[in-house]
């Protein structure tokens, strides 16, 4: 009986490992589109926004990143759920979810879920999450600024001085300010999405998506939801 329990655990681990790697690849492939969108956003920002409304810019850039992440989450969900269905179908002997094999498997599941880098995200995401609710739960979660944004320092003072000293230097100052802002936004996107520059285990959107998928998979397997 225990052979089947071990085989079932190995199958679930294989599913988990494949999903985590697939989510990383997916986000890396999709990142250039996000960076382009952020660059366009800065390019189209008015001088007033650049000088005075940094909070408005911050908020709209945040919205762009969150929307992008939500799209990525939906894609990851579809893949993970379909793959888990396949995994469940291929389990050795098509074991019954009610028998004691699953009892042993589920005992091991909390340990399976406590995976290094996504540990903090797992701890923060609702434990009752399911494939049907993960999208809304994680979105609500991001909406509460789980990953903090530092205030932008745009070099707005530089623009302010330039406005007093002539149109040529104003154009130069504006271009430079846009360039700097774009760079900061791209860096911020890297930090928020992949945790670049943060300590290992710090929460980022990649870890949040991975944790949500693992948690939903765990609940699906346990038959809880």
């Amino acid at each position: 009986m225990n052979f089947q329990a071990i085989a079932a655990q190995l199958e679930f681990l294989a599913w988990r490992d494949a999903q985590l790697a697939a989510i990383s690849s997916q986000l890396e492939k999709a990142l250039p589109a996000l960076l382009d969108e952020l660059a366009e956003h800065v390019e189209s920002a008015s001088i007033v926004n650049l000088v005075r409304s940094t909070i408005a810019l911050k908020s709209s850039a945040e919205a762009i990143i969150q929307r992008w992440c939500a799209d990525q989450l939906v894609k990851a969900l579809g893949r993970a759920e379909a793959d888990l269905d396949q995994t469940l179908l291929q389990l050795p002997g098509k074991v019954n979810l009610d028998n004691d094999v699953w009892e042993q498997v589920t005992k091991a599941l909390p340990a399976i879920a406590g995976v290094g880098l996504i540990g903090a995200s797992l701890a923060a995401i609702p434990t009752v999450i399911s494939f049907a609710t993960v999208s809304t739960s994680v979105l609500a979660f991001w909406g509460t600024s789980a990953i903090s944004w530092p205030l932008f320092a745009l070099g707005a003072a530089g623009i302010g001085v330039a406005t007093l000293t002539g149109s040529q230097s104003l154009k130069f100052a504006k271009d430079k300010a846009r360039q700097k802002l774009c760079l900061r936004l791209h860096r911020e996107a890297g930090r928020q999405v992949f945790g670049i520059g943060e300590k290992p285990g710090a929460r980022c959107m990649l870890s949040d998506i991975q944790a949500a998928i693992v948690q939903a998979g765990r609940n699906r397997i346990q038959g809880a939801i």
Partner: protein, 340 residues
């Protein structure tokens, strides 16, 4: 020969077509999950492996090359292809992870490797560990190296004991003592593995860190294999069954927190921007996959040794008789034992 027989072509075809799959050393029917047969390596496999690795005057891989380097991954693929060319039954190995081939054999059934081969594997791991230690954390390496060296010395002594069991008069007590000593060594190596695995989650890592885990895992597996063989020698099949079951679970617990993605991400941790992060992660991923898949395959291999012991009990085949049959086989590198 008791029930062991040559691998039938239909089994090879069944695996190739996806009708059957090999998990550890068990060939299973994919649709029902039922075990069809156990694969058992013989002494001939080692001879073929040695010839394949050095054929054409161009050694594919040696003990010095073990580890997780990209070259080793490619080399393992070459070994598998050449094995299949040499003998059709070895095509069964195409779907197996054989990253641990050089350090701990294939783990197909009970290990039949002699002392010289096992000791060579152990020395290979020890030398490799020394090379890796030079590349990683300098603060703890001396203390850790000393302890690992002492464990390896103990394991070497016990390998010698296990290899000479058949010639001893009081083999039962000696085999039991050897098995217990090997289990203790495995436990101490598991502590090193766990400690290293936990530390790796705290900061940026390199492939040398993964290589260290890989080598420790190979040494743990070697201890398990030698210990199980000791139990087979004294016909303690029920104990072999239970121990293999527990050890498979322990090995699984050790590897649970490791995922190829998280290890690859940790390798990319010091990247300054998204582009270099993605490059570093992608570069480290194949090696992380070899490590983690190798650990999982070890779990399957050890678990199937438990199934094998149960099958022998059901077939009323004694451990010593089984070992003798494998040792006497001079033609086939792989044999099968149909399930009871």
């Amino acid at each position: 020969m008791i029930l062991l027989r040559a691998v039938p072509p239909e089994l090879v075809q069944g695996v190739a077509s996806g009708l059957y799959k090999v998990t550890g050393s068990v060939v299973r029917d994919v649709a029902s999950g039922r075990g069809i047969a156990f694969l058992q390596e013989t002494g001939m496999l080692q001879t073929i492996l040695n010839s394949v690795m050095t054929s054409g005057g161009n050694p594919i891989v040696g003990f010095a090359n073990l580890g997780l380097g990209a070259a080793s991954v490619i080399q393992n693929q070459q070994i598998k292809s050449r094995l299949a060319e040499v003998q059709s039954s070895l095509a069964l190995l195409q779907n197996l992870q054989i990253g641990t081939l050089v350090v701990s054999g294939l783990g197909l059934g009970v290990s039949v490797a002699g002392f010289a081969v096992m000791l060579k594997r152990l020395k290979g791991i020890e030398v490799h560990l020394g090379t890796i230690e030079a590349k990683i954390d300098h603060v703890t390496k001396d203390r850790r190296s000393d302890d690992i060296r002492m464990i390896f010395a103990d394991v070497g002594t016990q390998l010698d004991t296990v290899d000479t069991l058949s010639g001893r008069s009081n083999k039962v007590s000696i085999a039991e003592a050897a098995e217990q000593s090997l289990a203790t060594s495995a436990g101490r190596l598991e502590s090193h593995f766990q400690q290293k695995s936990d530390t790796m989650q705290l900061g940026a890592i390199t492939t040398a860190d993964m290589d260290l885990l890989w080598s420790l895992a190979a040494a743990i597996r070697l201890c398990h294999e030698a210990g199980l063989r000791a139990l087979y020698s004294i016909d303690e099949l029920e104990a072999a069954k239970q121990l293999a079951e527990r050890r498979a679970q322990r090995f699984l617990n050790l590897s649970q927190a490791l995922t190829p993605d998280s290890l690859a991400r940790l390798c990319a941790q010091s990247a300054q921007d998204a582009v270099s992060y993605a490059e570093a992660r992608r570069l480290a991923l194949p090696q992380a996959e070899v490590l983690v898949h190798g650990l999982r395959d070890s779990v399957a291999s050890i678990s199937s040794q438990s199934e094998l012991a149960q099958n022998l009990i059901a077939n009323q085949i004694s451990g010593p008789a089984y070992l003798k049959d494998i040792a006497d086989e001079k033609e086939e590198p792989l044999l099968i034992l149909p399930t009871a």
